[in-house]
Amino acid sequence: MTEEVKMSQKIRQLLVEIWSKLLTLLQGAKPQIIAILGAFLVGTIVLFASGHSPIEAYGAMLAGAFGDIYGIGQTFTQATPIIFTALAFLFAFKSGLFNIGAEGQLLIGGFTAALVGTSFNGLPVFIHLPLALLAGAAGGALWGFIPAVLKAKLGAHEVITTMMLSYVALYLTSYMVNYPLKAPGWVPQTVLITSSAELPRILPPTQLSASFILALIIAGITIYVLQRTTIGYEVRAIGLNPAAAESSGINIKRGLIFALVVSGAIAGLGGAGEVLGVHRRYIDGFSPGYGWDGLAVALIGGLNPLGSVLAAILFGALRSGGMSMNRATGVPLDIIFVLQALVVLFVAAPRLIRYLLKKGGFKW
């Protein structure tokens, strides 16, 4: 009896705590919320101008994104890889590095995961699946390690190296699945992975896989590492003031390498999640630019892991809602890219928003 009371008290306490955390998050997310509202407002004008009913279009979008189990599954499926790439960008950014190569790290991670996923037969799931995921993370980590070392040893700027390595990844994987590893048939893709390497689907019949849960876990770990560990502390110190970090004895090179390797590993894991959970094979060009979306999402999320998850879900909802809007109302899919771009634009322009707020006489 008392145990039960204690439990329910604890749960209540926990809920109160989560609620207050959420409130402070919302409090801090004002510019983001305004940006999203602003984007939809401008989107309304665009829809009007192109002769569509905004209410109908947005209604169809909302219904498509959250209206039924398919929509929800599709929303979270689309959000998943972007959560990974956003976390990847964010983690490197905390050390002051601008990793814009998440796209390549994701591709390599997906590819190495596919290699391991297709290579073994008869391994038990609890060995094969973790191994494949690990391979994905390792592939991405390697793609982060190379620019990290170039930065630490030679001072090569990571914006250049990570971006260039993205192209290397793109064409390398493309070559591999077009030639040596091509499955029989017309499509440039590998054979299916063995079932022991598959990430389970968690919301059948949709494509949503356990990769989504993995993404949330990684978001939690990211928060933990940054806030509660010595190396996370060092990463943040380096990002905020490298001179002070150095004079306090922090090894800056080590910190930078760590940050970029972890960043790459997160993106690689995202690629592995796509391959093992959604496609079940490596398909050439499976990423429509998740790496780049991740960058935008991390910024919209206020460079905060929790915020990034929410922003990624927004992007996922736009994607999946946009598709059904297209089917239901004939509004071209492109409108969602307009909306995405507008959100980014508004977030990137906090001064503009502040100005508008001031002119509007708003007070928060």
């Binding site: 509660r228 502390y233 060092e234 110190a237 003031n241 306090s248 004895g249 090894n251």
Partner: protein
């Protein structure tokens, strides 16, 4: 006649800090008005409100008797208010004339920049106010004092009738201070009003007609210069008597703690900055390093702390060589450092107080448990203890250090560096930019650490500070230690001569 400026009931709060609390301030036309107060008293904030950089939460501003709303510097400039900041806002690669006319360039044919007119306009301006500058000189080639003059001219060019000078002497040599005062008097004669922000009593008394003293965001009072004395002003500022001399116990200096021999190191421009530097520091001893800045002090500190490469030479701490150890390992061996530029090198301004207090020791027990987890409980306890012991004026341990005043920031650094019972302390310019109260506090702490047996290397450009604290004094000149003297057997005169490169044997 209406006052040049009247500020009424100005209140401004930052997260956790009341910077200005119902401040009233009146500037009469044609006067030089000193704004005096400790660091963090709210002087700069008040003037930033007047200049439109911040907006007050409450209060009104009148210029020439008319109520005005100043919500950006451009409005302030239109009202004839100009401000010269502590950190100059000049483009180093442009000439003086180009910098001064920037934003309102004279044009030929409505489009082309008229260089000749810019130069002649600026020359006319210089002549009118008796401020000598070569309009064609590049700004980066000018000494700091002249750059400041360019800032003043820039404000005048924009039609300033009211000039705000924020800690204008902080960066100047004594000769340059003299020049600045002459310029201020000339401006006053031309009918300009000047607000002189400072925490230096001597200067305020020398140049100002009236003085307003701020303390913790509130006005303590406004006094006429002729009706007050420096020590009264000092009392108003800190609210207690100032002890400018320290009683020092003289324990016998003990064993050698730090010894360096034949140090040679290059500066950032790959020139030899340290030339065969040798000295030693004992337990229970403060060794002062006197010298004009830029004679190798910065490089010396970097070499000792391990962030600059040593060409040749030996460094030993307690008899063990440390020249090959990393900065991190040296900290572990008991070296501690109060860096010259606390905001750049001593603190992570966007970290909280408690995060800053463990910087450098964050990866050791008790702050780390197992090999990678931070022990948040122990960190909080430690931060609370230090906040109490070192009277760090912060709303709480989670406050971001950026929001604290300069003096409080230095207390954070000092608390961190002294709490680890260091064997050897390097303190570079430890009281620079600090007000009387904070200065005294830091000096007292240094003496306390000496009394506990630490060896202290005190590097300071302030000769008074060196003389007040040191047991022995080394003079550095052009990368060499040119003399080492017992404090009791030397004088300000002799040291001054040595610092200027004069021979003294």
């Amino acid at each position: 006649m209406a006052s040049a400026v009247e500020m009424r009931g100005i209140t401004k709060t930052f997260p956790g800090v009341v910077a200005n609390d119902k401040v009233n301030f009146i500037l009469e036309k044609g006067e030089v008005h000193g704004l005096l107060g400790e660091n963090g008293a709210g002087k700069t904030v008040l003037m930033s409100i007047l200049y439109g950089l911040y907006r007050s939460d409450k209060g009104q501003i009148f210029v020439d008797g008319k109520k005005v709303k100043i919500d950006s510097p451009s409005v302030a400039i239109k009202l004839g208010i100009g401000m010269v900041h502590q950190n100059f806002m000049l483009v180093p690669s442009l000439t003086v004339a180009e910098n001064i006319v920037l934003g309102r360039e004279p044009k030929k044919h409505h489009f082309w920049f008229d260089t000749n007119k810019a130069v002649s306009d600026v020359q006319a301006l210089c002549d009118r106010y008796g401020l000598e500058v070569d309009p064609k000189a590049k700004v980066h080639s000018l000494p700091v004092g002249v750059q400041q003059r360019v800032e003043v001219l820039k404000a005048l060019f924009r039609g300033a009738e009211i000039l705000i000078l924020d800690e204008p002497t902080a960066v100047l040599t004594p000769q340059e201070v003299y020049g600045l005062f002459r310029a201020i008097r000339a401006l006053k004669q031309q009918g300009k009003s000047v607000i002189f922000i400072s925490h230096k009593l001597k200067e305020v008394c020398a140049i100002c007609d009236r003085i307003t003293v701020l303390k913790r965001g509130k006005v303590v009072g406004t006094v006429d210069k002729n009706e007050t004395k420096p020590d009264e002003l000092a009392k108003m500022m800190v609210g207690r008597e100032i002890l400018s001399t320290f009683e020092k116990v003289h324990p016998a200096p003990g064993n050698i703690v730090l010894q360096v021999e034949g140090l040679r190191a290059l500066n950032d421009r790959k020139l030899l900055a340290l030339k065969d530097v040798a000295f030693e520091v004992h337990e229970f001893e403060i060794l002062g390093v006197a010298g004009v800045e830029g004679n190798g002090q910065t490089e010396l500190v970097e070499v000792l702390t391990g962030i600059r490469k040593l060409e040749t030479g030996k460094i030993s701490l307690n008899g063990k060589p440390i020249a090959n150890l990393s900065a991190h390992e040296r900290i572990e061996k008991g070296l501690s450092n109060v860096p010259e530029d606390r905001q750049k090198k001593g603190l992570i301004l966007d970290f909280s107080v408690s995060e800053n207090l463990i910087l450098g020791r964050h990866d050791k027990p008790p702050f780390a448990k197992s090999w990678f987890r931070l022990n948040l409980e122990r960190i909080s306890d430690f931060a609370e203890r230090l906040i109490r012991e070192y009277s760090i004026k912060t709303p709480n341990r989670g406050t971001i250090v950026r929001n604290l005043s300069g003096g409080t920031q230095q207390r954070v650094v000092v608390a961190r560096e002294f709490s680890g019972e260091p064997e050897f302390i390097i303190a570079s310019q430890p009281t620079r930019g600090l007000d009387v109260g904070a200065t005294e506090y830091v000096r007292r702490k240094l003496l306390e650490m000496r009394g506990k047996g630490s060896a202290v290397l005190l590097i300071s450009a302030d000769l008074d500070e060196i003389l007040a604290l040191s047991d022995r004094i080394a003079v550095i000149y052009e990368g060499r230690i040119v003399a080492v003297r017992e404090r009791s057997k030397t004088s300000e005169f002799e040291l001054g001569l040595l610092m200027a490169g004069g021979k003294n044997d």
